[in-house]
Point group: C2
Chain length 341, copies 2
Amino acid sequence: MNKPATIKDIASYCGLSVATVSRVMNDKGPIKADTAERVRQAVDALGYAPSMAARALKTASSSVIGVILPSLTNPVFAETASGIQQRAREQGLTPIILSSDYDLSLERSAVATLLGYQVEGVLLTVNDAASSDALARLDKEGVPYCLMHNVPRQQVCGYIGVDNYRAAAEVAVYLADLGHRCIGMVSGDFQRTDRARDRHAGFLAGLRYRNLELAQLVQVDPVNAVGLTGEIHRVYEQAGSAPTAWFCSNDLLALATIAKLQLLGIRVPEDVSIVGFDGIQAGTLRQPNLASIRTPNAEIGAAAVDQLLTNKRGIPGQTGRTLGHQLLMDGTVAPPPDHLS
Amino acid sequence: MNKPATIKDIASYCGLSVATVSRVMNDKGPIKADTAERVRQAVDALGYAPSMAARALKTASSSVIGVILPSLTNPVFAETASGIQQRAREQGLTPIILSSDYDLSLERSAVATLLGYQVEGVLLTVNDAASSDALARLDKEGVPYCLMHNVPRQQVCGYIGVDNYRAAAEVAVYLADLGHRCIGMVSGDFQRTDRARDRHAGFLAGLRYRNLELAQLVQVDPVNAVGLTGEIHRVYEQAGSAPTAWFCSNDLLALATIAKLQLLGIRVPEDVSIVGFDGIQAGTLRQPNLASIRTPNAEIGAAAVDQLLTNKRGIPGQTGRTLGHQLLMDGTVAPPPDHLS
DNA sequence: CTGTTAGCGCGTTCAG
DNA sequence: CTGAACGCGCTAACAG
């Protein structure tokens, strides 16, 4: 690994001073066209890349932003990362993307890591915005940040997300108006993330609005849907009123639920309707399409970059906003079977 | 954004010299237990995080590794990124993950960006290892790298992947031995990536080994599967021998193909068998499971980190290796319908 | 065991 | 329009 060319190398190669080279690299101050050209040639010839480390040290600004996501493989966060990536590139920022694996201590250490890189700001999704050490640390250090997907009650530096509560309520009303009277919910452990809680609460509220109760609540490990098979089995084995519709707190759970139902010989949506949440691609790569709430995940990422930049410039005004969601109520959703409606 | 504490702040806070603080931070040299404790307290109190920029400048090593992937949302690369992330954390390295969006010029500029951060090395998947400017640049700068998913013919710094050719050939043989005689392939544009080419070539070879020809080749835009509907339609409208089995060069294409076939009233696998490639999660979240080749994507990422470290230490020996794949030949694969076998 | 100091590569004065 | 010199925060070498 031969050591990289420095600004000095360029300077001596051109017979100029480092100051002049620096000016050319940054388009600062008046430079003779001829000089600039010579420098560019040298840069090309020697493969010079300015050291971001030295630059950061000198200017006290790194053009790096930190990103902390619960998972890189979950399509929701992958799309978010992709949106961040793209917008950051446009803005001349380099993201350092870290995964917390839904682990609070990794959330904390990720913040610590990013602090060392003197990031301009941090974009992050935390398990629970109301009680996050990570956020507390960022507040304490005065590093601007923007939450993604979390829509906190308390005052925070910035946030971008969707209205999980409202969206879930809309699903409940939709299913009720379709004639469903016995409705269940499959949720990831909603003690763990504020999103799961909001979706649960919103769904209950929507049902109540139509004078319905939640007939069944199945809670499973959200990563591997551990226990789902058993629970589904249990519900449909006991005689009596099993739900004709299920709302699942995310699409991955919804797809898993459909697969389990099919194994029991239950047809979707003829016998049972299923609605997910997130609108991931896998849901559209099947027949019938998975009914879901589509959330603008990439836009959330991009908007978070913008929000961060706004905060940094100290522009007063809103600290965040919710983006619109979209009900995709076809495919795996249908009225209940005749005799049950 | 209050400015971060520096080593000097800690030093004066404790009434010590910066050197001592530095020693404590890096566990270097003998330190009185009491002194160390005082430093730790100060670090905690002031929220001090050593500046990676200054450290990199001084030590000429950044503990940052660069990562360039064609996409962050494709599950294959998302899993790879996740594997990298995890192993890098264990090794005290911080990855900077960039997406090239399958774009050659972004591939190049991503390398340029990473060079500025004095990365210890680069892990990357390129469109075509045999003709990559990005690789050429890395070679020229003497930056260690490790290809992921690309398994190049020429000598490179390092690589980790699966044997696409062999895996595809195994699928061909499997389908042939199941009784299929009329077999098609759905491929992403295989002029674009070496993986698609290898899979195509391997599949042809496997068929030839069983004295078969490829009955149909459908090429589509690999990102959105543009044109797939039309092509499938065309094949099954013309009377005569339509394939009883399709090999798709990745799972996303396979799932899209199944959906299209179902829209034409063709059942999978009763009428037509479908095999994908990659073994992504979406394939297992359906009934029947998608038949596929499972590739160890996260392990490829993790192994690439290891390979990079090996290369850096200049340990002689192999420059890379292929990891094993796994045939998952159930679910959407079955013998051809009786009258056609 | 601890302190002093040079210098990593760069951008930014201030002179010329 | 260009050059010389300083210092950002840190580690390593040397001194005590």
